[in-house]
């Protein structure tokens, strides 16, 4: 009978729970999606001599620097949440997760402010006052997809925080959500230099 039970329980090839492996596979596929967008954008950007460079240091680049600080700091608080959750310290894990949510909301707010600033200046999906009409399409699609990931992450962390506090979810759920949140941070590290810093106004 013991052999029968053993045969049913095949060991994970990577010694990680299937939930975590699934998240890694999702992250890799999502990285390809962002990679495709950023590569496409990179080619358009370098091939278009009239590509707009609208981002002034103040407010745009300054705003982006604050957003980067906020998002990287939120990764740090998420690490704290995972550590506390693994140790079974629910109040501490909850505090760290709600801090991460707050930072995510601040990031989204700053991002939306940046969008409205550009829309006020006349940037639309296929037109803008400065040059190549594809600027708006690439800018809004890349930053919009990232913003969608941030908002999804904030909602996911809120659900996980609530479930973990009530004892319905485990530290494994917190860790898997943390993986996703760090990935959102990694993507931003590519979006900032390629989308914003290549187009600074001098």
């Amino acid at each position: 009978m013991a052999g029968h039970g053993t045969a049913l329980m095949e060991a994970s090839p990577f010694a990680i729970p299937s939930r975590k492996l699934t998240m890694w596979l999702f992250i890799i596929s999502d990285a390809v999606t962002f990679g495709a967008l950023l590569f496409g954008y990179g080619y358009l950007r370098t091939a278009s001599p009239d590509w707009p460079t609208p981002f002034k240091f103040n407010p745009s680049i300054l705003n982006v620097m604050i957003m980067t600080f906020v998002l990287v700091t939120s990764s740090l608080t998420m690490l704290g949440a995972v550590d506390a959750a693994k140790a079974g310290d629910k109040p501490k894990a909850g505090r760290f997760m709600w801090s991460t949510i707050l930072l995510g909301v601040i990031f989204a707010g700053l991002h939306i402010r940046e969008w409205f600033g550009l829309i006020d200046e006349g940037v639309r999906l296929f037109q803008n006052p400065w040059g190549s009409p594809l600027f708006g399409a690439t800018f809004f699609s890349i930053t919009g997809l990232h913003l969608l990931h941030v908002v999804s992450g904030v909602v996911a962390i809120a659900v996980i925080a609530r479930g973990f506090a009530r004892g319905k979810l485990t530290a494994g759920h917190v860790e898997t959500t943390g993986l996703y949140w760090h990935f959102v941070d990694v993507v931003w590290m590519f979006v900032v230099p390629l989308v914003y810093l290549l187009n600074v106004s001098r």
Partner: protein, 103 residues
């Protein structure tokens, strides 16, 4: 019942990575205001972004602490697919000129 371990503050352990990531972000902003050609600036910024991303993946996402087989399964596959995508993009520019209404 599993014994609860006291959660030590893990944050100081990751502070060096955190500060390096912020420093890379600051360096990128500095370089963006130097007089580089667009292609060169793109290559430099992409290189720095890869360094920052690798640090975050290895330490924040703990890929460095997982079994090496996980790394070897995920990362080479990702790089391969991205490079293959990269080969298609240049062809897409050629195709632009093959459109029926292209001049």
């Amino acid at each position: 019942m599993a014994a609860l371990t006291k959660s030590g503050s893990v944050i100081p352990k990751y502070l060096p990575v955190y500060f390096v990531l912020l420093a890379i972000a600051g360096l990128e902003v500095f370089l963006a205001y130097q007089n580089f050609a667009t292609g060169s600036l793109l290559a430099i910024l992409l290189g720095l972004a890869v360094c920052g991303g690798a640090l975050a993946v290895m330490y924040f996402m703990h890929l460095a602490r997982e079994r090496r087989t996980l790394f070897l399964t995920l990362i080479p596959a990702l790089i391969f697919v991205l490079l293959m995508l990269n080969m298609i993009w240049t062809d897409s520019f050629r195709l632009l000129h093959l459109r029926p209404f292209a001049h």
